[in-house]
Point group: C2
Amino acid sequence: MVMQRWKLTIEYDGAYFHGWQKQDGDLPTVQTHIERAITKFSGQTVGLHVAGRTDAGVHAQGQIAHFDLDDGDRAMNEFEMAKALNALVGSKFISVLKAECVDANFHARFHAKNKLYIYRCLRRTAPPALSNGRVWHLRKDVDVEAMRLAAQNLLGHHDFTSFRATECQAKNPVRTLERADILTSSYDDHGGVEIQFHFEGQSFLHHQVRNMVGTLVHVGLGKFTHSQVKDILAQKDRTKAGPTAPPDGLSLVRIDY
Amino acid sequence: MVMQRWKLTIEYDGAYFHGWQKQDGDLPTVQTHIERAITKFSGQTVGLHVAGRTDAGVHAQGQIAHFDLDDGDRAMNEFEMAKALNALVGSKFISVLKAECVDANFHARFHAKNKLYIYRCLRRTAPPALSNGRVWHLRKDVDVEAMRLAAQNLLGHHDFTSFRATECQAKNPVRTLERADILTSSYDDHGGVEIQFHFEGQSFLHHQVRNMVGTLVHVGLGKFTHSQVKDILAQKDRTKAGPTAPPDGLSLVRIDY
């Protein structure tokens, strides 16, 4: 029996799934869709190991997962593997962008060196018809410069307890945030503005990105000053920070190994 | 009785409607949704006049329509009108971007000076999970330079019979195409390329944009040479041109008056 480790690069629209992770019951998740597709053509039951679990409603443009398959006498090449998975995955909202044979030591989660998350907001009065489920709709004006100043306080090595979900299971709340940029661009011909938060780091706590965005938007709305964010971080108390931003705007864009 | 003419700028995701136009029966269309919203707050039955009807599956980022309302003693301002329509339109896939009081002579269709349609294709092997319903998925390589050369043949004042739907009701098949540009950009981190066709002109025949795109993609795939497109145009015969591109990739982006 020769086991081959496979690495998958996956795009999905999180609006159609109860998150990445397999759930009790028969709720549709990205993991169950892909595991079933693998079983369909191989007859083997596999367990997918993912780089970064995503919540219901959160998207991915470059999620990474790995699994082991007994190649037996029907070894597939990389192109065939991606094609078979896309044919069998059972949802047009999941796409396997790439399937690669990797070394048996490769680990999607433990070997990830850097992750890029992008959170999209749409600032305009009218609701988003075409970006429904893909952006956080901000009806009121936000001060982008204040948010940029506030974001600088989050950069670096910190205890992010104030920004993690109370149910977060990580033993250590310390993380290093390598990048916290805010980009703006014109969204339409009628004054709509897209505001993107780009966060990079090796790993993030549960809800960390959404809680950072919720807090920064509070700064943009004038509910916190930009320097207050430094205090919020120091207080290590989730109740001091802003609300959790909705999942819609978030996408796991790229993971580097 | 004082009638006020209103101009609306509308965004919608065409995947959720049987086109713009009101249909027999009770099929959901963009027009019926908006007309019902107007009736709900005004008690008046109105008829919307649209700049450019769109087919089922075709999107709009800047569709324009007008209607007349008896202002009576409850005149609304422009901001209130847009807000009321968005609250009552009954679909999160329609958004009124702007409502404006205009002169009683304004006509959404007859006064349109220029329309911009953008058609999006996604060139990659893996299917589009996040752009599902928004792009035409091209699995095979296309020669963009050949498509650009071919598109030049369509520019200007021509009889576009070869590119109009057989059921097109326009009396005159002559139109002036002012712009036919093809833009490419990187779509993802895995080699995916977005190819956009930008077409501008005062008016278009039924299916003209989709038939031009279908024919240009045939050129890109090597099924026609770029100079053949000139002959196809001259033949004034729909059966000589390429297939009708799917509605998914098309959006009516902007109309100038």
